[in-house]
Symmetry: C2
Subunit: 446 residues, 2 copies
């Protein structure tokens, strides 16, 4: 496979989807549940974007015997094996030595790697200890993947018609290395598509089966030339269309996706992978509007969703987290009488919070979330756990709506955040179209 | 092994640490990076607490052939195999059938499971569709693990001296099932310790190697009877002590841990697994004090840490997220002149935020976090990315300190939240002791 590269400008010698990828994640901390296996999530998603399906992920201990036994099996059955972890300077980092032995490679000292490490230590004003030199040993017949954010370089080797990629464990070292050095190398050898293999439509406010029913008419004419996959998240459903056999060009896929998007109207969020907060942020910046939030049930998660967007201070004034009725009155001038009459978990309170945040922070749009996300919070005779009220203030008015989610506290919070973001997104889309009045979706409070 | 159970009241027939556990997580959504593999984190941690190390986790596709091939290998080399996912009602949920075939079990219809499903559907006012009945087929020679939060029950079988546990995929179904039904069954057969196998000391504010040096004198006298393991999180280090050979009783381990805790002083956080926010919450409730927070750099994460604690409204007044200087002035009366003179990322601003939050929300203690967590936020000539200022207001005064963290935005935010929580915890511990004046750890601003 490696010995039969892509014919330049032509189609791959072999369909990318048939390439057998396997990921070995090494480390006791993963098996002891001390660290989440984010490498699986990251690498699986990146391969998927370029048309490849990770066939298997195996997590094993750092022990040399376990690594050797597992690597032997994985190498025999795969076209590409990717390992993570075990490349560091300490004595329990022996992955490099064990695997070099298994594939019959000598490890040789690379002065360029030593120089890069020396420079890195000097930049941070630290002295490099002797054990770091271990990381300068690389495959005799292979390539070095430079590490811009750490000391241990990654390693790349091609032999027996297979590819071996060894990556360091820290995510901030692994991720840019994978995107900038591994993906282009794999694509150049026809083991990944040269570009994203599918066109993804992200939707919100519509269930998976309803989405499938609505989009089917756009897919049916293309028969087996078109492959369609749906994936539901909490509050969003993605639809990916691709043409694994290559019958439909990427431009044609984009046209089909555009027809779907048009038909979906406001339920269409974006092409690709942007978060709801990111999509809202772009709309707010385009319209030069400012946002603020007031949260009770979501405890800071809604504000945090916006603070994850780069340059948030340009459009996001700030937020208020009200764990107590006092905070609602003190920070946002919500009348105590209103809270006494209707309760803090009510449409009235959600409207008052949204209005208070808009007035206090001088924002054009505000979102408010009140409710009972977890079991300890309900009072006698009040709404059941999972009851959420969302308030939205816009230049066109202020509204609230009631929602209800099953599940544990964490799930209810995420669903409430996504529902609030999606409501804001729809209002911003309508405002961008202009002239369209805000659609009443619940009781109008004022 | 299963055929040689624990002698009642005696020591296990076989050390728990030598039992070979393997976890098979099934699902394309894991391999495509659409869902994080939380089952590994959860089950790995739970086994670890009871003295067992998960040997391997394998994630594979839902495909019948892949499941069959992987299960055969895993079953042959393990004492206990746990599977997750693939037990649902749809046609691609075939794990039950495939694995039953591999271990030579017949699947038989269980009317009690059907009844439980019917009751569940009735409770939610929905009609049960025919395909759900598939979930009522269970091992002829085995046990059913009831599912309190979903339709598909778990399955338990013992044969060939091995244990097979099959669990449904949704975490809110799997986790209580594992804790309430699987752990007790495994412990009764001597495959897990009957209680937590170690005593854990959680510490903060001290590095892993410094902690080891400080505690070594307490461990050395016990020689090989005592096993010690350290685990560093972001801002906290756990130390677990155990006696794998059983030479030291659990009571003796607790005595040794108590000696360590006493010697660590304020660097000791708690025994066990409580979060820093939870420890602070307990101290605040004991002292009947109220807390508020003001965040810029952490965007809502600090407030959210407290809102995750059950009953937070009892001690947590609320929080303010200031993405802009305006918000600091509008919500917390931070003087604009102060922000202009010193900047929003300064000790002065952190002190003003902490003071403003205390005064506005009537809180006894407040934490404030200002800083540059991500790359887009630095202005020309200002502090570098990773610079964080934490402000603390207590009944004894108000202080700020400067910290600096490397790494991406997410890491900086988590470290800043943990540093703020740990500072609050120390102040509350000192206040509980009484009479001890607040130790000056940075510039006193007022």
């Amino acid at each position: 496979m490696v010995s039969e590269p892509n014919t330049p400008g032509g189609s791959p010698a072999r369909p990318v989807a048939s390439v057998r990828y396997e990921l070995l994640t090494l480390g006791d901390e993963l098996l002891l549940g001390l660290t989440a296996n984010g490498h699986l999530t990251f690498i699986g998603a990146q391969l998927g974007r370029r048309g490849a399906l990770l066939r298997r992920n195996v997590t094993i201990t750092d022990e040399a015997d376990a690594i050797a036994a597992q690597f032997r099996e994985s190498w025999a059955r795969s076209d590409v094996v990717i390992t993570t972890g075990g490349l560091g300077p300490t004595c329990d980092d022996r992955t490099r030595e064990v695997i070099a032995g298994m594939i019959g490679q000598r490890l040789v000292f690379d002065p360029a790697v030593e120089r890069a490490m020396q420079e890195r230590f000097a930049r941070f004003g630290r002295k490099m200890t002797e054990n770091n030199l271990k990381q300068a040993y690389v495959f005799e017949r292979g390539e070095v993947l430079a590490n811009a954010n750490g000391t241990a370089p990654g390693l790349w080797a091609e032999q027996d018609g297979k590819v071996l990629v060894m990556l360091p464990g820290p995510p901030n070292e692994l991720q840019p290395m994978f995107l900038e050095q591994v993906v282009p190398r794999l694509a150049a050898r026809g083991l990944l598509e040269a570009r994203e293999a599918y066109v993804q439509l992200r939707t919100a406010g519509i269930g998976e089966s309803a989405l499938e029913t609505r989009l089917q008419p756009f897919f049916t004419p293309h028969g087996t030339a078109l492959s369609v996959a749906f994936c539901a998240h909490q509050g969003a459903v993605d639809c990916r269309i691709s043409s694994p056999g290559g019958e439909l060009s990427h431009a044609r896929l984009e046209e089909i996706a555009a027809e779907c998007a048009l038909s979906l109207g406001e339920d269409f969020v974006c092409y690709g992978h942007d978060s709801l907060a990111r999509v809202c942020a772009d709309l707010l910046r385009q319209q030069e509007k400012r946002l603020a939030v007031a949260e009770a049930a979501t405890g800071g998660m809604l504000a945090n969703a916006f603070s994850e967007v780069s340059g948030a201070c340009k459009f996001f004034a700030g937020g208020v987290v009200c764990s107590s009725n006092d905070a609602m009155s003190l920070l946002l001038d919500v009348p105590e009488s209103l809270l006494q009459q209707h309760g803090a978990v009510s449409e009235e309170a959600a409207v008052a919070l949204a209005t208070g945040a808009a007035e206090t922070l001088g924002a054009d749009y505000t979102l408010a979330v009140s409710g009972f996300a977890g079991a300890s919070e309900t009072g006698a005779g009040s709404s059941p756990v999972g009851t959420i009220f969302i308030g939205l203030h816009s230049p066109a008015g202020v509204w609230a709506k009631k929602l209800s989610y099953p599940g544990p506290r964490g799930t209810v919070k995420v669903r409430a955040v996504n529902a609030a973001l999606d409501w804001l997104r729809r209002e911003l889309v309508r405002a961008a179209r202009g002239g369209v009045t805000t659609q009443r979706r619940s009781n109008v409070m004022r």
